[in-house]
């Protein structure tokens, strides 16, 4: 049995590759250059992809390799381009597919999968003969493999899509997915200027500052790459401090992997208090200076 792994984001490769490596042999498809993340992930072969936006060409290549029996299973990192390829490929290779899996066990041709459903309100456990999966982040603890895989460029047919220009997003310069401690702010912050009153606390515990969807995407108080949530980053720090975050299920889905969750919110009935280990009902601007004071002692 051989599978393929496709990810247009190199940082998502190690976790998925570790998981698929546990199932058997696999080839990796990812944009170059061939970094250690790619060549030491345990793949039989690494195929670099010229442009991950050529979703039709990538789907066509992988569909032909699934149809010919070269690959029995496919695992695709759940990104915008990844999901586009998955849909196109599922049709072209005529295989069943399950999206955003968080776990999978295979027995014969039966795949048992679990994934979040109803926007994170439930976990759906399904059984099917699907052979194609998009994979949610964090399916396995990444392990580096010592042996290096051979690298070659994937040969893609011409795409119907032409890339005209590309613009890097404004980045906050931090990778919140790697942080040990995160202080996350919600709408309850009030306005952007008040971020400066959060900083002393974040500094005291050596945390990076992140935010909810409205804070990052609607009000732009923080850059987009700091958004935690179903549509943002999925984080798993040791400590996650939620400030003025009500705790909508879409937000919870992005921080569920945190070891300890601390919530501070004025509203006693905020759902975040159902999803925290420790909480204080109170005004964050009153609570934070007190925390900083005591942390200094």
């Amino acid at each position: 049995m051989k599978s393929f792994v496709l990810s247009d984001d190199q940082s998502l490769v190690p976790s998925i590759a570790t998981f698929v490596h546990g199932l058997g042999e696999f080839d990796l498809y990812a944009p170059g250059p061939a970094s250690p993340a790619l060549i030491r992930c345990g793949a039989s072969k690494v195929f670099t992809i010229k442009d991950p936006n050529m979703t039709d060409s990538i789907a066509e290549l992988l569909a032909s390799k699934m149809s010919s029996g070269e690959y029995q299973y496919g695992f695709i990192a759940s990104t915008v381009n990844g999901r586009d390829v998955a849909g196109l490929l599922a049709y072209r290779a005529n295989v069943g597919s399950v999206a955003e899996i968080g776990s999978l066990s295979l027995s014969g041709s039966t795949a048992r999968t679990k994934r979040y459903f109803f926007g994170g309100k439930s976990i759906l456990e399904e059984e099917s003969s699907s052979r194609l999966f998009t994979v949610a982040p964090g399916i396995a603890e990444a392990k580096e493999i010592a042996a290096e895989s051979p690298v070659e460029e994937a040969s893609l047919s011409p795409s119907k899509i032409t890339v005209l220009s590309s613009e890097e997003k404004k980045s906050g310069g931090v990778d919140i997915e790697k942080a040990q401690a995160i202080v996350s702010v919600g709408r309850g912050l009030g306005n952007k200027d008040k971020l400066s009153s959060i900083e002393p606390f974040a500094n005291a515990i050596n945390a990076v500052i992140a935010g909810s969807r409205p804070v990052c995407l609607d009000y732009h108080w923080l850059s987009e790459d700091r958004q935690v949530g179903l549509s943002g980053k999925k984080v798993r720090p040791k400590v996650y401090v939620a400030l003025g975050i009500s705790g909508q299920i879409q937000h919870i889905a992005g921080m569920r992997g945190s070891k300890i969750v601390i919530a501070i919110n004025k509203d006693k009935s905020a759902p975040i208090f159902e999803e925290c280990d420790y909480g204080i009902v109170g005004d964050m601007f009153e609570v934070l200076p007190k925390l900083v004071d005591q942390l200094k002692k």
Partner: protein, 247 residues
């Protein structure tokens, strides 16, 4: 001149109102229905294209008889014609794509607009399945759409970049929430839409999928939920936790 635009509209239960039962099982039975957020953005995007370049917007809902009022909302937002197909069977994007594509083939079209990922099932597979079935290019997670003769320029909203791409028409375009702010239709349009007769037809394709649901239950929160209502009691407790965890 102008463009024939088809907008695919999804109806979902109001997820905020989901309450698990004693056993933790989750059901959406009897919950009020609403239009999926990205479907509203899709309608807005389609109507804006027509307003700017001319043409016609046709809405399609694959849902149930209960979806009819949602199509009326789509009319109020500016959809010119719409129909409801009944027989939706939940989370099964392959079947949904087959039914929608059958319908799309019967309607003249240049552009198909839909949401990138729906708030309930969150598969994100439907745009690719529809594009695959129709044999069209797919441009995912759009934040701007500019047609030019028989081509279309789209800005894609990716995780770390925004990319501008061009493709030939017809094409399937899935939209991101950031593409626009859906309009609130004026009362007159809502009233006019209320009087519309919405054609309803049953899906005539068999569902051949064999996905079996084993369980659908609320995730268990294993959190301690120690919540202090007095700040001065909470602060020392939390300082202690922070010190232990972040040594």
């Amino acid at each position: 001149m102008g463009y024939n635009i088809i907008v695919l509209i999804k109806v979902i239960p109001d997820l905020e109102q989901i309450k698990p039962d004693q056993q933790g099982n989750v059901s959406t039975k009897n919950l009020p229905l609403r239009i999926e957020t990205l479907s509203e953005n899709s309608i807005e995007a389609a109507v804006q294209l027509r307003e700017k370049y001319g043409g016609k917007v046709t809405g399609i809902i694959f849902g149930t008889q209960e979806s009819v009022p949602i199509m009326k909302k789509a009319y109020a937002m500016g959809v010119d014609e719409g129909s409801v197909i009944t027989g939706y069977q939940g989370n099964n994007p392959k079947y949904t794509a087959a039914v929608l594509s059958e319908k799309i083939k019967k309607i003249p079209h240049d552009v198909i607009v839909m949401g990138n990922q729906s708030a309930d099932s969150y598969t994100g597979l439907l745009p690719g399945l529809v594009a695959g079935t129709l044999g069209y290019p797919l441009i995912g997670n759009a934040i701007s759409i500019v047609p030019n003769d028989r081509k279309i320029k789209v800005k894609k909203f990716l995780e770390s970049k925004n990319i501008e791409v061009e493709s030939s028409l017809p094409a399937v375009i899935s939209v991101a929430q950031e593409i626009n702010e859906p309009r609130l239709p004026p009362v007159m349009q809502i009233m006019a839409a209320g009087r519309k007769q919405i054609p309803v037809e049953a899906a005539n394709i068999q569902n051949s999928s064999s996905i079996k649901v084993l369980s659908n239950t609320a995730p268990k929160s294993e959190r301690r939920k120690i919540v202090f209502e007095k700040i001065d009691e909470g602060v020392p407790a939390i300082v202690k936790v922070l010190r232990e965890e972040l040594r």
